[in-house]
Symmetry: C2
Subunit: 212 residues, 2 copies
DNA sequence: ACTTTTTCTTGACAGATGTCCAAGAAACCC
DNA sequence: GGGTTTCTTGGACATCTGTCAAGAAAAAGT
């Protein structure tokens, strides 16, 4: 194990730690790909290894057990996705434009990253059963809520009006819309993305700021 | 097999068919209990049988395979739950009362039937991966949307004002709120039910009918 | 009472799964 | 280049899985 850092020659140790962490991330990426393809229930360690350049034994060298690997996947997933809309927030110069960009981005990620999103919903459901997942999942969910809140409050700012919603309610409605759209999209319904875009825009315009 | 009904003596055949269907329902109930306890990923046929009064072999006498059993569970679950709020709709005599009753009922079923609800979300996530589940899940989801729509439109009627939301948006926000509350509730957060009740009420009052 | 049909149990099967381990390969250090 | 540490492999393990089939038990039919 190279996880211990306290050593005389810190350069070497640090390098080893980095390499160790790098391998963990690499394997977690393979796991993420496999999980998003098959779902939690159907993903085995051997399948994950086959989607990587290593053999199945190596997984227990870098992770204590399957749960630790999956937790690592969740954390890695989080780091990438909670800033999804931030560049839209920063570059929008009017409320209407922010609204359009946000709705378009929702529809785009629905179609382009559908498999990753379905894994997220699958994992969140697993958290309802497996207590060891719950803390991380709740934290990630909270980060997503904040991400939505940044969009919503920036929209209100550009509209020079206050937000009329709780962060929790705002997240709930967009999350609910997205989830439904995902189910429809994967079911082959061609309108799913367009409907999501339309619904997203109308919710932002009509409800987020409350009655006028 | 007694599934064929076309026989001279229909009384007998009918009785056998009924008994056959009855056993299927009984076994599906055991399966439902097991699934809601362990989740889809961790539920085996032997575990289901152990939660019933039969041995594991009988499951393949009444169901072709595991998928058929689970599909039957989903359909049975649907029959019970899509009318959950109908008596509230019928007995409410004012908009405010309907709002309160609905919010209270949401909070009540969250705490009392949490395990069944988590199974629903688990199964809906499975539908994102397993195409053979999708049709039933989409249909059940649609039924739930209609159930919410009945509440919302009755609330508007009692308020003598029109609904300002799509059925899809209305369902999304209540479903999103419920899902989040469920995760929090199972995570031991004491406020989960109260927050759900509060959020549900405020969404109904402030957003469903749009700006005044 | 005897036969037929329906229902249920038991054990077996082939394959998959998480985990561990011994041994080889590779990288690294002096 | 020899010795040490780190990394990787492939196989073994015990257990669990869905499925099936043969026959016991129970019920129905005559």
């Amino acid at each position: 194990m190279t996880e211990v850092v306290e050593r005389a020659d810190e350069r070497i140790s640090r390098r080893q730690v980095d390499k160790f962490a790098q391998r963990r991330d690499l394997l977690a990426s393979s796991a993420l790909r496999t999980l998003s393809e098959l779902g939690y229930a159907r993903t085995s360690l051997r399948e994950i290894a086959q989607n990587s350049e290593f053999s199945h034994g190596v997984l227990h060298y870098y992770f204590r057990d399957k749960n630790e690997l999956i937790l690592h996947c969740v954390r890695q997933y989080k780091a990438e996705c909670v800033t999804r809309y931030d560049h839209i927030i920063e570059s929008a110069s009017s409320a209407a434009q922010l609204c359009d960009s946000f709705a378009a981005a929702m529809a785009a990620t629905l179609t382009e990253e559908a498999h990753l999103h379905r894994l997220w919903y699958d994992m969140r459901s697993q958290g309802l059963f497996e207590p060891s997942f719950r803390a991380d999942l709740l934290e990630l969910d909270h980060s997503l809520e904040q991400m939505i809140w940044r969009v919503v409050s920036r929209y209100a700012e550009l509209s020079t009006r206050p937000v009329a919603m709780d962060p929790a309610v705002a997240y709930a409605v967009f999350d609910g819309l997205f989830q439904k759209a995902l189910l429809r999209f994967l079911g082959g319904e061609a309108d799913a993305a367009a409907d999501l875009q339309r619904h997203t825009g109308s919710v932002l315009v009509e409800f987020v700021l409350g009655g006028r």
